[in-house]
Symmetry: D3
Subunit: 247 residues, 6 copies
């Protein structure tokens, strides 16, 4: 891996500035504004008693997620999916990814028959919106769990660990961590990796954009992602150690 | 009108704390985070060359608006309209109101064949979201117009004035300005008033929630609204006089 | 206010010919064909036992309304909303307005757990369709209430009064009552006013189509509307005093 | 075939009272309120220059139809298809049937590149709505053609004949003509027949509701239908011979 | 009726090669791949306990059907209805026809509160897809009934007979049986006939594509259809007498 | 990794019986029935001149794919997406995956402004439907390309290689290749891998179903997938070497 220069001066294995602002909303049980550089995602965790019909009486809880993008979040305004009357494939795909990622660290029995709904709304997009969403949503989820515990709605610990996510890619033959939009569009290979706080893999999604990629390239990307997720795990822990800043 | 005590200590004819933060987004031609107390609306103005098909070749521009609410904006989470696959009547109604209000101060000929699309997304709702949206959208529109002028896309002045909006209502017999959610649900009569910066009426929408209202009550509400819109006009002017704060 | 000449020879404060034909349909509990000049709206009130789920067990009834326009009602044929697969903003808005207007004179407790659904279908449109719809729907509602009383479904009086609606507007600087389409499109300011039979305001919706309007103009329009609603109230009373004509 | 008594005293081969009122609407090129007893359908023919994209430049015209039912037309109110967001199978089926039936008597070349859109809206339903719709739509179509000729939009004769339709069915073993709702629900076999004015068949749609039907029964129903369509053809001709009554 | 030569050398009253392959799927209670020449329809019968809500507690079963066409089934690829978000009129119409046809030979009481859902998916289309679907669906239904009997879900005989369907049409003045696509598009009159195994009529749907048709032509077509349905009934009986071939 | 016994007697690194039947349909430019054990997917490639609007005039072709499942393909019947009126997230996700996978081996310039649309319809599902679809779709695509070459629609070679896909997973701690449904539901980790014929990675999608997975487990799964894709590449080559069997 040769050294390279990124537009924003970062090292190839360096995250963008990450900011995790807890308590950004007044109503939700947990809420986080998460920023990966200029990418800005508002993650809200709404808790409600009860579970979907197919799960009633099981004693088990449920966690689900929805992802969406504001029209003006991107460089060129995109149409609203509510106006189009249908949700696009990309939105569906990311909503499902976020939900699966969070559920990987949830003990449904300890959650009891409560539902936590995560809403990840991209206010501004500059690459990596799904990884920022997962990283922020975990913190909002942790706050919602604390809230439920404080109200007596649950007593045990429904979180079996933490979860974070990062994008990696190969640009001009060089593996890089945490791609902004300008790098993302130039990447030959693009990978999103979701990991638990103790280093286990939850999701690995790699895609060849142009040529296919070799096993060696895959290994290099995985190593970068492990480094990035470890950094994010530390930032999540620090954010949760402090007081919610609010807005 | 007897004196009364409001939960937040305001006088009956006093606005909540209003904050207008320009330049909140990087991509949009104009963007404003507007806050009326805890109500928080992100207003983005996207400019594009050309106009809808039915207006092509007319030499006239177009301004339109869409309003939406994030699911976690309200006390109890509401379902996404994109997931439901249809836009509700309330959303339609408010989108149309915002569009009409802004168009009241636009000179289409001076705008030329450009379109400005306003997106007003409620991040947090505590009453008065439509009036905050109109008030903030005007500022975003003004910034978008300046942006178009700076790029040479237009030369004249397409704005014939400013526009602002406020809610008024009768609570326990007392007319009050700028209702938060807790007052809104208790109001007998609820009115939204949109006015130009020089004191003309653009929209008057009054609704009896319980008993009908008298002409005298209507007059009292209109007077309050005139006061509130004048205050907002001043705040808009101050915001536009400064530098965009960005985020 | 200077004198003016209207295309149809009416005085500025004069209604068009209003006809209210009760019993136009055989099945509905109440039905009215209401005509304001060439505007023709079929209003049907269907009564059913029970209320929507969210209201069950409350002891309270429910009244709701839907407005629609036949494709050939307008000058140029308009597409069916059922074919387009979605209801437009204007339709939503008017349906909601009619529902709110009628509910202003309903005592839900006296209605008991019954639902009355008003359907207002515009057979021919020549301006003022929403005001004709409200005016006719009230009469259909009154007939449906009588029907429910005759079948023993209710005993008290769920109607606390009557309700009627009229449009007013400023054309070439002159305030006028009950605008046909040709005046409506030329109006600078357009207002719809809904009032109870005893002179209270239920809805006031004024919109500047071109320039904004002054407080004096607003006052003049309100005065005209008060006159028009009083006339309509009298016509409703006369219609209800007679036998249903049927068709 | 034994003699039988019908609830309304008609002979088995007798039509209900049929009324065809031309010119019921002011805007449409042709419009007819057609009544088969208590079944009441408003048929409007809207003419417009040009044809759908797939037919452009062919020199051929187009005729199409849409059928719908008002919510309160039936005994028990039915939901609006626009509110449900989709058109039901029955509606689709009938719209297609009406369009095919009318097109059977249209010479597209003589029509030129004009489109005539028929809207058949059922105001009140008491059986036979589709056959009333076809019978009335033909008259509206004929009026629209005259209108186009009067404006110089066409010169030749695009109608190659007339078309009418009637329902027949077997009730308690007895074949009957023109079934009202109460007979329709009791019919073992139900058939709709569309014929040209000179006695050709355009559509034959027979359905066994309970037991299957024999060839002899089929023959008896066809004979009845031939009689009914001949009667309707005469009534159409009489209606078209007079002046449009208007409303 | 003069003799004629068909492209595929068949006599005018001869079916195409018909193949009925039972047990084509592993999961469904009954499944059949039915082929009328190159037309190929996969018919699956899924059985489930219980009936739709409106039928619960009646002791009666339910049989329903859905028809669809794969995009590449036709000469030119057609768009998916799931992608378009709405089902077309033709699909609705045929689904309804198949359901009615099968229900004509079902004794709901003997079926008990069980539902059998028929799915008829056209894998390849060459004319006559609806008639092949009905003919094959009956066999799949019979297998599903046997399956329910073998599991003890029912004891009696819910099938009161068999049902089959065939297309007939007039091509260049000659009545012909079982039209492939090339004949179908040239037909002046096109008729689909559904009959029970003992020769009763269930559905007769005749359509004039160009000129109207005479009573004599109608009679000739009915005779042909009676012959074709009798042939199909024999083929169904033979198929059900053997062992399911599987695939 | 201990040795294990699979229900179907396969070795852990062994594919199910794979059958690739070319020419299964008459109309499509290429068509394949691909079977991975009991999983059966019909892949059709439809070729058409021209490209989507956004690509016109670029000289580049386009390849896209749609995936769907017949209602009776699964153990328990699933509802049609056309009837529900919307496509689910899983369907969207797989359609996008197939499209990306095929595009990895397409040279758009050599394809010229032609579009090839792949339709992958699951007739029967027993695990691995998306991997069977990709593997079969490649063969259908190759046949469609040959077809285009034979008609003179293109001259060069738009395929830069082949592509195949396989599922792998960890069941009770043991990595296994090509999971049927019964293994899929028990898998702790589930991975789909798409590779080119020369051993490059196109897509890697691994998901922890229960606990997260380690880097060592990930490596073992990748090795298995490399073996499986190599086997499939050989089978694809053999299939393309023969004559299309047709059906």
């Amino acid at each position: 891996m040769t050294s390279s220069t990124r537009d924003d001066g970062r090292a190839d294995d360096q995250l963008r500035d990450v900011r995790i602002t807890r308590g950004w909303l007044d109503h939700a049980a947990g809420s986080v504004l998460v920023e990966f550089g200029r990418t800005r995602v508002l993650c809200a965790a709404s808790a409600s008693e009860g579970v979907p019909r197919w799960r009633k009486g099981s004693g088990l809880g449920w966690v689900t997620a929805e992802y969406a993008m504001l029209p003006a979040a991107t460089n060129t305004r995109s149409d609203r999916e509510s106006v189009k009357g249908r949700i696009g494939g990309r939105t569906h795909e990311i909503s499902r990814l976020i939900g699966r990622s969070l559920r990987a660290v949830v003990d449904y029995r300890a959650l009891g028959e409560n539902t936590i709904q995560l809403d990840c709304d991209v206010l501004q997009a500059d690459g990596g919106t799904r990884t920022a969403a997962i990283t922020g949503a975990y913190v909002a989820l942790a706050d919602a769990v604390s809230h439920l515990r404080s109200t007596g709605a649950l007593t045990g610990e429904p979180l079996t660990g933490s979860v974070a996510a990062i994008s990696v890619g190969i640009i001009d033959g060089v593996p890089r961590l945490d791609l902004p939009y300008t790098e993302d569009v130039r990447a030959d290979t693009d990978m999103n990796v979701v990991m638990t706080g103790d280093g286990g893999f939850v999701e690995v999604q790699g895609t060849a954009e142009g040529a296919s990629f070799s096993r060696a390239e895959l290994d290099a990307l995985l190593a970068l992602a492990e480094k990035g997720c470890a950094d994010l795990t530390r930032l999540q822990r620090e954010a949760l150690a402090g007081e919610p800043a609010g807005r």
